[in-house]
């Protein structure tokens, strides 16, 4: 319970970093939850993130898991609100302004400017994840094969994540 204010602070801050997708906030999520607050270990974070990729709905629902770990049901609810309310309010307000302007004039320039930033953020996320998740030949192979299959087909990514779990179960048992 003592951690509730910290949860609110961390996740409302992370909320505003989700530019171009939830994954953009991942490096900072790792830094704050693992290194600063020590709510969970890096491998645990990566596992939860991986599981979260299989869950339906908005990406990044795994933040709920962190809230649950830190402070049970209240923690989960607080994190959910802290992570989604700030951007929801912003979107709501700008959505209303936009309709008054008829056509949002900044849109194109913002998008042009944001595209390289969000690609960079995604790469940074990927790098952070890879450092923890790719620990040997097998995991490297799973990552590369998933990557190649996704580029070459329109298969549902959740199935590939499940496939990764299957390969892990068969090969990675210590």
């Amino acid at each position: 319970m003592k951690q509730i204010p910290a949860l609110i602070r961390v996740f409302s801050y992370l909320s505003l970093l989700t530019v171009g997708g939830g994954m953009a906030a991942f490096p900072e999520l790792k830094f704050l939850t693992v290194d600063v607050h020590r709510w969970l270990t890096f491998p645990q974070l990566i596992h939860l993130y991986g599981v979260g990729q299989m869950a339906p709905g908005p990406n990044m629902m795994m933040v709920v898991s962190i809230g649950q770990w830190v402070a049970g049901l209240p923690g989960a609810i607080v994190v959910l609100i802290a992570f989604f309310l700030p951007t929801a309010l912003l979107t709501f307000i700008i959505g209303r302004l936009w309709t008054r302007l008829g056509k949002w004039r900044w849109r194109r320039s913002i998008q042009r400017g944001l595209a390289p930033v969000s690609i960079g953020l995604l790469l940074a996320c990927c790098l952070t994840m890879a450092k923890g998740a790719v620990t040997g030949w097998v995991t490297a192979g799973i990552a590369v094969i998933t990557f190649v299959i996704l580029l070459r087909s329109r298969i549902n990514p959740a199935l590939l994540i499940l496939g990764g779990a299957g390969v892990g179960l068969l090969v990675l048992r210590a």
């Binding site: 909320s15 530019v19 997708g21 994954m23 645990q44 596992h47 939860l48 993130y49 991986g50 990729q53 869950a55 339906p56 709905g57 908005p58 990406n59 629902m61 795994m62 709920v64 898991s65 649950q68 989960a76 951007t87 929801a88 979107t91 709501f92 959505g95 309709t99 056509k103 849109r107 944001l114 595209a115 390289p116 930033v117 690609i119 995604l122 990927c126 994840m129 923890g132 998740a133 790719v134 097998v138 995991t139 990552a143 094969i145 998933t146 990557f147 996704l150 990514p157 959740a158 199935l159 590939l160 994540i161 496939g163 990764g164 299957g166 892990g168 179960l169 090969v171 048992r173 210590a174």
Partner: protein, 176 residues
């Protein structure tokens, strides 16, 4: 491109100012409950991260609450604001259909299934996460997730038109 006619509506504004142009159906027949259940269904079935495709097929094709042009416009806006595409779309569409209450119903609906699932996952992981079998499976899951993120990044990069200057920002963002 302008909404001909609608711009010239005289001073006495319509009774429901929150029902903004762009929504195909301005009818109050779309109930808050309907909005909630529709987004709940999307939130429960959109496996694999492609929420946008699920949103489109439900909102444009199935329910015809939006036309394609409006959907694309709202999506472009969702993508250029902070926040996840799925939740931003829920807010924008919900607001257009039924104002604030619609927006709240939509975002709650789309978030609830995944949130409940990840809540249960957290409980299970806490109890069973240390078992060798679970750890082995989760290692595979995490590795596959790395491949998934890399693929997403590349697909996004392909879509955006690149100037050399953009690459500088990419590099700076990664390093930063």
């Amino acid at each position: 491109m302008h909404h001909r006619g609608t711009n010239k509506i005289p001073a006495p504004s319509p009774a429901r100012p929150e029902l903004v142009k762009g929504a195909v159906s301005l009818s109050p027949e779309i109930s808050i409950l309907q909005i909630f259940t529709t987004f709940l269904l999307i939130g429960a079935t959109s496996f694999g991260g492609g929420v946008v495709a699920y949103l489109r097929s439900s909102l444009v094709d199935k329910h015809e609450w939006l036309d394609d042009k409006t959907f694309v416009e709202l999506l472009a806006m969702s993508q250029s604001l902070p926040g996840l595409n799925a939740t931003n779309m829920a807010i924008l569409v919900g607001d257009r259909l039924r104002g604030i209450a619609g927006a709240i119903a939509a975002i709650l609906g789309i978030c609830l299934p995944g949130a409940v699932l990840m809540y249960v996952a957290a409980l299970l992981y806490r109890v069973h996460g240390d078992r060798p079998l679970a750890t082995a499976g989760l290692k595979g899951v995490a590795a596959a997730a790395v491949g998934l993120i890399l693929a997403t990044t590349l697909q996004l990069g392909r879509k955006s038109f690149f100037h050399a200057a953009d690459l500088v920002f990419v590099v700076l963002t990664v390093i930063g």
